[in-house]
Symmetry: C2
Subunit: 474 residues, 2 copies
């Protein structure tokens, strides 16, 4: 970064990055081997409701949209410029953008600070000077771009990002690869995303700026960060600390390994840095840290959907004993307590289940497979127990329990998540899919593909709650 | 278990359990609220090529197949009896089966050693006496049953098990819930299964017997065990030690938590027992241990498909730097070495990739997205480097690298797995699915959904190799 404090004007202009009325693609192309082709496809196929101006001096029109030789030839105002021209031409493009009054830039072009040739870093310095002077926030260089799903804005070279379900989890990432991975994972598990931003070399927009913006973004409830290295970690920590607890911030930082650290230097022009130092500092700021993409994604989804499990006392209600044991092992390892039911609760459970399997916590509801009312009764009694702060609801399909999920659906949808319900309701493809989707969409529960992942997610909710409480006590 | 040594006759008769010519369903029913209905459905829908005899004194025919009042009324020999009648009637059914000359039994009925009433355990003792005397191996009681996919035999109450892809990984499990979970996971990731066996209360067939049988089973290459508790762990350890290294055996044991241990007692009539003691003993026997269903399943799939990574020196070849860093972190944490390329290899890589990103290991192949020949050249050079024992091939889809997977397909299919290739080739649904499936079916690689899981799988292959080497040295 070429400055110590982000200009207020620059932060204010982030609004135009995510909510532009008009976007120019500088370097738009009809040649599929050019990134300018893919960016045009992203914008046009993504149903962006604003104006799109392809900029290309050699074309009349691109993808059926009138093209202009430069941004200054466009007769209307432009908020956002997406640049895909070669590195050496970018300084003059920046000049033109400033003259045109463009408010924000996505600089996809690579070949700056991250390359071996020192001229790359020099060029990046020149651009930073121009952008800072003009108060223009720049995403990149060396990035895939960004997307704001709630504006139907896909300003990236990956048209497929427009397929992402709209939701409330934002991803801000230093790696295009990890961003693409997490986006495709989100698609495959139907997880809703608000914004996805590839910071690239971070010319003048860093994690701290994005966190500050997203804390006030009404479309975002949870912020995910993928980090490799930071020039000034204190700025991020300050940005999160100021609004600690307002919205959960989760982070995954790679570069623990020596070899990975080398990769980081080359990748985005920063060493990943001492992992332990970061880890402690991020936690101190109130950021929940993970060391796995799937774990972070699961936790972000849970934090967006579930209340915290009060004092961490969990009821484990299972259709079979084995998955309950697997979940209990994880719960205890992660510091959750397997609740002791109130006597009244235990009486209800004993009245609903025959003495054929375990009826204390964990509860094996196996003998009640055929009885929707018994299963519902057990779940209700345990959810209403004030000594239980959340439940893990585990059931593996068998022909005899086919009706169980449909049977508890109504009750769970009405219960409305006063306590977290994390489930693992698993069947062969096509059997419980629609019921589970309805339960998730209705906010009744969050479903995970293994009992261990369900328990880990409950533990992440608990860890976040304890972390905030611990920081408050200090 | 009611005996200290398994009878030789009993072990020999396990052949009839998995390869019967004729099966009787004792308690067959046309009432969908009876397990006898679901077992009949499993056998008939599973395309079992042998004879099926429904036994029910009150029915002429069940699902269009002539029914008989008892096994002794059946005019032909019967190899396998599947029993779904209430517990109290089972001793007399056993008597009839013995008279009929039935060679093996699957006893699905619950209500024996696992229930609170001590009569359950007494009844189980009686059955064990009868079965041992007659040399009949009994799967169960208190089990979903079993399936032998290579015989199209689904002798369980879950007809959906017939949907499992045929393959070489066997699962022997003490939990019906975990068995169902792993079966559905296998279906969802198209992982081939040979046999799936729910041991239940283990009347007279335990893990050791199944391992001994599966070591000689030509349809099985890898054996997965899900354990909760063992009455006599030494027998399992002996059974594995005797044939150590012949086939990989992997295990997942729950009951680490106190609450889970309580559940185990109720579940299958055995305390899960001191976890650490088991863990050490299982490792000593040459069993690779896991504490997560997904981790065990991934490892079993990898052990069935991949050679071991020689001396653990890994090449990390990635389409983007971030996923490479994530993989390197896991590799180093798990004791794998990020290889240093031979100078010749490095020269080839440098000739194929421009100096825009990291070209030493890990290699960021980002600048070669458009060039299939460059990517293939890098992969080939690194696979041919005798200082590299396996590669992690990571690539997240972007429009510009769409052709990359198709482009390296031919080369990888020809390479034929002299070294393990573990990949994470991830795209939105529908984009690379068929190419990746072809590569997996052709034995060229194993694909995982995150770079961390890919690295963990490489580490599991390496851990297995080191474990065997360590035990050999003793």
């Amino acid at each position: 970064m070429s400055k110590t404090r982000t200009d207020k004007r620059l932060l204010k202009n982030l609004r135009y990055l995510f909510h532009p009325e008009a976007v120019a693609v500088i370097g738009a192309s009809e040649n599929p081997s050019k990134l300018g082709f893919h960016v045009m496809k992203s914008l046009t196929q993504g149903a962006f409701p604003g104006a799109i101006f392809p900029i290309n001096p050699g074309a009349e029109a691109i993808m059926g949209i009138s093209a202009y030789p430069s941004v200054n030839a466009v007769p209307e105002p432009i908020d956002l410029g997406v640049i895909v021209l070669p590195a050496e031409s970018v300084p003059s493009v920046f000049d033109e953008c400033i003259r045109k009054g463009i408010k924000a830039i996505v600089l996809i072009t690579a070949g700056f600070k991250e390359i071996e040739d020192p001229r790359g870093a020099e060029l990046q310095e020149i651009l930073a000077g121009l952008a800072n002077e003009a108060g223009i926030p720049v995403i990149g260089p060396n990035t895939f771009g960004m997307a704001n799903l709630h504006r139907d804005l896909n300003a990236s070279f990956t048209p497929e990002f427009s397929r992402l379900p709209k939701g409330t989890v934002a991803l801000v990432s230093q790696s295009g690869g990890i961003s693409h991975l997490m986006a495709f994972m989100a698609m495959r598990q139907d997880m809703g995303i608000s914004k996805i931003v590839g910071l690239g070399n971070r010319l003048n927009v860093d994690f701290s700026d994005m966190v500050a913006y997203l804390m006030d973004d009404s479309d975002t409830n949870v912020i995910m960060l993928y980090l490799e290295g930071l020039d000034d970690p204190r700025r991020l920590i300050e940005a999160v600390s100021v609004q600690r607890g307002v919205k959960p911030v989760v982070a995954y930082k790679t570069g623990r390994a020596e070899s990975g650290d080398r990769a980081s230097l080359s990748h985005t022009g920063s060493m990943a840095g001492r992992h332990e130092v970061y880890d402690g500092a991020l936690k101190q700021a109130g950021i929940l840290c993970f060391d796995d993409t799937q774990d972070m994604l699961d936790a972000a989804r849970a934090l967006a959907m579930c209340p915290p499990p009060g004092r961490g006392r969990i009821g484990v209600l299972s259709g079979q004993a084995g998955p309950a044991m697997a979940a209990c092992d994880v719960c205890e390892a992660e510091g959750l307590e397997i609740a002791v039911f109130r006597p009244e609760t235990q009486t209800v459970v004993n009245g609903l289940l025959p003495p054929l399997a375990l009826r204390t916590n964990p509860v094996d509801m196996g003998p009640a497979w055929y009885s929707t009312s018994a299963i519902t009764g057990v779940v209700k009694a345990v959810l209403e127990d004030d000594g239980v702060d959340g439940i893990l609801l585990l059931m593996m399909f068998a022909s005899a329990n086919r009706a169980a999920v449909a049977g508890i659906k109504e009750f769970l949808l009405e219960w409305k998540q006063k306590k977290p319900v994390v489930s693992c309701l698993i069947a062969p493809p096509g059997i419980w899919d629609s019921e589970v989707a309805d339960l998730e969409k209705g906010g009744a529960l969050i479903n995970l593909p293994t009992p261990e992942r369900a328990a880990k997610i409950m533990a992440a909710l608990w860890r976040y709650k304890r972390m905030l409480a611990g920081l408050k006590d200090e």
